[in-house]
Symmetry: C2
Subunit: 335 residues, 2 copies
């Protein structure tokens, strides 16, 4: 590409404004410069349509202004059945936009992607990494923090790593939901748990068990994977084992909607025969039949806080290592 055809550089702006490269750089980066030079430079920038070259800047500053969001979820599942990621992405995006950083999306479906992600991070391609939806004791968080890059997780990572994370009060929210059912006079309260290799699945089940233990009731558990279909299946299982159950706490709204459909299919009325409580408060919850009582988690806020914490880390500031956002029981008609 010939120089003439290329985009304007600092050099050409400097020439046009009659100052040195350094002065133009100062103006661009908002450092002190005499008013007359500043005017000349700004004029030249406008006339030439100058935009700083990102790569050149990165090369010397060692900053990329890029933040990676890693979703080690099976690619097929990410985004497809849950409204969680979209909300988190949205929250992250809001904060990053403010800070003039950009979001790089890394879907890590295959094991091969893990290597790719580590390579990408090691290449100093991003300033920091957000990790969401970790399954089991994923080696990725530890690997990334060993490289020495700031990392913030969504929910407490399983395994031994002690990385900062932002989560919600899964246990407390679930316990509150179950206590609400018990207080309402329900005696046989079952649960549709989430995947037991994810914090959300584990802690919500623990909350169910804790609330049940307090009232000395027998637990009844079926495990799903947060999707609607798995909720249908799990509900049928629970009914087979315990046809007289009178309440269900589902660890996600999608599974709760599945339970609702299964209950209707077996001729049971909600909430008359069986009460149902979900978890998440996604948009759908307002439109289920009947509208779903559920535990709201501040999804957007999770994204915002994750991004905020990471930006602090990137800036070299300290952050609180753990952050638990509150959940809230939203009463509708299903329980």
């Amino acid at each position: 590409m010939s120089r003439a055809a290329g985009r304007p550089t600092l050099e050409s702006v400097a020439a046009r404004a009659g100052v040195s490269r350094a002065t133009v750089s100062r103006v661009v980066n908002g450092m002190a410069v005499t008013a007359s030079s500043e005017d000349a430079v700004r004029k030249a920038i406008d006339e030439l349509g100058y935009v700083p070259n990102h790569a050149a800047r990165t090369l010397v500053t060692q900053r990329t202004d890029l933040i990676a969001l890693v979703l080690p979820e099976t690619t097929a599942r990410v985004f497809s059945d849950d409204q969680f990621f979209p909300g988190v992405v949205n929250g992250i995006s809001q904060v990053l936009e403010q800070a003039d950083k950009q979001l790089v999306l890394l879907l890590a479906g295959s094991p091969a992607s893990h290597a790719r992600i580590e390579r990408s991070v090691a290449a100093h391609h991003v300033d920091g990494v957000l990790l969401a939806s970790l399954h089991g004791a994923d080696p990725l968080p530890a690997a990334l923090s060993r490289i020495g890059i700031p990392v913030v997780c969504n929910e407490r990572p399983l395994g031994s790593t002690s990385l900062p994370y932002v989560g919600v009060d899964n246990l407390g929210g679930a316990a509150t939901a179950v206590r609400h059912l018990l207080t309402g006079g329900r005696t046989r309260v079952a649960t549709i748990a989430g995947p037991q290799d994810m914090i959300g699945g584990i802690d919500r089940l623990a909350g169910y068990q804790e609330a049940l233990r307090d009232s000395a009731r027998r637990p009844s558990i079926a495990v799903g994977d947060f999707t609607l279909g798995s909720g249908v299946t799990a509900m049928h299982q629970l009914l087979a084992e315990n046809p007289k159950l009178d309440a269900v706490f589902a660890a996600s709204d999608l599974m709760a909607e599945g339970a609702l459909k299964a209950l209707r299919a077996t001729g049971r009325r909600v909430p008359d025969d069986v009460a149902v409580v979900g978890f998440d408060d996604i948009a759908l919850a307002q439109y289920t039949d009947p509208p779903l009582t559920t535990v709201r988690q501040p999804i957007l806020e999770i994204g915002r806080q994750m991004a905020t914490q990471l930006l602090r880390l990137v800036a070299g500031e300290d952050v609180e290592p753990t952050m638990t956002l509150p959940t809230e029981l939203v009463l509708r008609q299903s329980a």
Copy 2:
């Protein structure tokens, strides 16, 4: 940062392998080198844990290996009510991963974001841009292509720009759905249309009108915005205007589910009293009550094709300016 503390560079690998920087560069980029040098270089790379610096490479090659996905949707709406974006992102991601490119997500909620996006693109920050979900005659596509960067849109952009795009046969799919209703003996077929500033909304309505015109029936139209809630509202409107309607074609599955709920709330049975057909075939469609007959669009494939076309453009190859993927009527119980 002291040199010792920094990550290894080409220089240090070269020193260790006893060759020149250029030779190491050749090995890294897979160019011909004698076996002995190659071995020495590879060994040094492994021992040092060398990873090429992305910014430095970008500076000279003018390639960033970054592809932007711009969603000019209101941030609140993107991702939140539709399963479309997640699927497209997934498809894009699959193709980019193959090509070793990365995905930068740009949510353009506010008008201010437009400027930010243009700046980002002008800074040579990305190699190409994918534009999805354009509303009305958005100035962004034209602005980006004026900068001279490869752009591929999702669906034909409204307005005068002639950019390459990948879309689906919205009109044909909608017409097929409506003809299916008419063939089944329905006589009063209404529609819940999508937003009329988006191609998906416009063309699906056109398909409805075309099929209806063929059979000389009167159209009955309410407009929604693809969300479940808007489907509920629109269905009530249609019923108010035309209580005897016996079929509805909704331009999205979410709106169809809303219609289903509204019909049930007014005591109508589906499909006995009113037949319902949706559009999209999202996961939910299998679980509605009754399961939803709908027009499937190959969402993942849209993402894949958009990415594939853009990569061709980035590589300087020619692409077909327009690409329309087929839709397919999926018969379930609602119609």
